[in-house]
């Protein structure tokens, strides 16, 4: 081997070592505190559990129990609430967010101001979000007073205790919390579209509404993709707002129960009348959640990639 070659090899090995050293701190922390617990959880879902003790291999029996009576009813309810949550967020948060971003895109002034105002709630802790909205929505509270004053409602406001309303109120609060994100991402996406495209369409006689659907939306597919995927992930992670506002039971009568609050009850012993933990069932649910999130996200990203057009 020539001297040059040896020197090159030495540099290459050196680079490899440096790369290893650079990745190591992050990998050590992430591996020990995220990947290892995750592996333990996934592995544990095919075992039988008594309390916190792992017993023998049990195949898919935890999963079968999860889908069977009586747990299947809870699972179905939570799944449905998560799905409704996703639909609600897509409509109220991202749909309105797109509309607002489109309006801000055309307005000359104030876009930065509105973007900041919409984003502010996102820096609040869920504990504070919950406390604030519980206060505002309480009977005799500010919202009741305003709605009554406007003639939109009469008498005591008890929406958080009403099982046909509570879920939608929480979805609205979540939309309020994160509205800034779609507004931000969509205005940024719109600014990347050349004005000439809009100008050409205007000369052809297209109005703003038509431009939104025929020009802006198709060219916004990358932005739509990230917002939709993030909302999907956020929805199936939904725990904090329910926990803070309606408790871990998803009150009233499980009408705001989500997959993660259900997981919490199974893992920490608040499910059922006796309230004992069922770790096997919890881990099966955790595995299911992991699959829903990774497969769902992958399919979504792939679908959007296929739908994207080059400007």
């Amino acid at each position: 081997m020539s001297k040059q070659r040896i020197a090159y090899e030495r540099v290459a090995i050196g680079r490899h070592l440096t790369a290893l050293l650079f990745v190591l701190p992050a990998l050590l922390v992430y591996g020990l505190f995220v990947l290892y617990p995750l592996a333990v959880s996934l592995w544990g879902s095919v075992f039988e559990w008594r309390g916190l003790r792992q017993l023998g291999f049990s195949g898919l029996s935890n999963f079968i129990r999860l889908f069977a009576f009586p747990n299947g009813e809870r699972l179905g309810g939570a799944l449905w609430h998560n799905a409704a949550w996703f639909a609600g967020i897509m409509l109220f948060q991202n749909g309105l967010g797109l509309l607002f971003a489109y309006a801000l895109f055309w307005s000359r002034k104030g876009a930065a101001f509105f973007q900041s105002v919409f984003f502010f709630p996102a820096v609040l802790s869920p504990v504070i979000v919950g406390a604030l909205w519980r206060l505002l929505l309480a009977p005799n509270g500010a919202v009741e007073w305003m709605l009554n004053g406007l003639g939109l409602h009469e008498g005591r406001l008890t929406v958080l205790g009403d099982s046909s309303w509570a879920l939608w109120i929480l979805i609205a609060i979540d939309a309020w919390n994160w509205m800034g994100l779609p507004v931000l991402v969509f205005t940024a996406g719109l600014r990347q579209i050349s004005y000439e495209v809009f100008e050409a369409a205007r000369i052809d006689g297209a109005g703003q509404t038509r431009m939104l659907f025929t020009i802006a939306m198709p060219l916004l597919v990358p932005a739509l993709s990230s917002v939709t995927t993030l909302s999907f992930i956020n929805t199936f992670n939904q725990f904090d707002i329910v926990y803070v506002m309606q408790g871990v039971q998803g009150n009233p009568s499980f009408s705001t129960d989500t997959l993660v609050t259900y997981f919490y009850r199974l893992a920490f012993g608040a499910e059922g009348s006796v309230g004992i933990t069922d770790i096997g069932l919890a881990l099966a649910l955790g595995t299911l959640l992991f699959l829903v999130l990774t497969v769902g996200t992958m399919l979504m990203l792939r679908g959007f990639e296929r739908a994207s057009v080059q400007p």
Partner: protein
């Protein structure tokens, strides 16, 4: 006008006549912004009211004589000052550590070729968005067996690195020209110097965004501190003290105290947001929209 437009690129956006539809949309926009800002305004206003004023029906908007009594009283109920310091320690150390570990790993993933690089990165992405609660029990066991339960170190250590940070840094560092890095290497700079002297300054907007993200997330985190601190209330971050204040308060309904505590807890993330929001917007655009 058309001749001018041909001469240079048109940066002006085309103008539209105001129609009833745009007027309606503007109105809707203002209404939505008011709804977005209202709860925060209500929180601050309530914290300045007297206890009688907070209980008034119908509610009153402005306190007759704004005062800070609620802020001094809340300290008697729970030790919010101590909690504030705890939160600051947690949020600052995790943020600094996340920046450093993410820069290092992001640099390696973006600019080195090594075995299992793509596989490792795929694992990071796949596990990035898992609900943290799913791994809470095994995580608690590991942290406990390392002697991390009951103290602030237990809150901090498992959060010294984070997949989203690595992902964000990799995306941005990939855009730093290789020539820049090679030039520094030829000048004899060590890899550490290259990373912190050349690469890091050219991804400052991403660092600012990650600072905001990490600080806000760890300032607000609730479930993990509650689990690992094991009732050691001296070490509680402000969010947990606040939720304890809330549960004491359900009966008494001294809303002013709660809102004073909440205003204190909100202040650092809001200030940081005001300072860093410009960078934050830029990085969301770069990481999200371009993909």
């Amino acid at each position: 006008m058309t001749a001018l437009a041909l001469d240079r690129p048109r940066l002006e956006r085309p103008q539209f006549r105001a129609t009833p539809a745009t007027a309606l949309l503007t109105l809707l926009l203002i209404l939505a912004a008011a709804i977005a800002a209202f709860p925060l305004a209500w929180m601050i206003l309530t914290s300045l009211k007297t206890p009688q004023e907070t209980m008034q029906v119908p509610p009153i908007w402005l306190p007759a004589s704004p005062n800070l009594d609620a802020y001094t009283q809340v300290a008697d109920v729970v030790n919010l000052g101590r909690s504030f310091v705890n939160s600051a320690i947690i949020a600052l150390t995790t943020t600094v550590a996340i920046i450093v570990t993410s820069l290092m790993a992001g640099y390696a993933f973006a600019k080195y070729r090594f075995r299992y690089r793509n596989a490792l990165f795929a694992v990071l992405i796949a596990t990035m968005f898992l609900p943290p609660i799913v791994t809470l029990i095994p995580l608690y066991r590991i942290a406990g067996s390392l002697g991390l339960d009951g103290n602030l170190a237990g809150v901090i250590v498992p959060n010294l690195a984070n997949a989203f940070g690595i992902f964000l840094m990799r995306q941005f560092i990939a855009g730093v020209p290789d020539e820049l890095i090679e030039a520094a290497r030829l000048d004899g700079a060590s890899e550490i110097r290259v990373l912190f002297g050349i690469v890091a300054p050219s991804v400052l907007p991403a660092i600012a965004a990650l600072t905001l993200f990490a600080f806000v997330y760890h300032w607000n985190s609730y479930l993990w501190p509650l689990t690992i601190l094991q009732g050691n209330s001296d070490q509680y971050p402000i969010v947990i003290s606040l939720s304890r204040l809330l549960s004491y308060n359900r009966g008494a309904m001294n809303t002013g105290l709660v809102m004073a505590g909440a205003t204190m807890a909100v202040l650092p993330p809001v200030l940081l947001f005001i300072i860093l929001q410009r960078f934050f917007v830029d990085s969301i655009v770069a990481s999200g929209v371009k993909g």
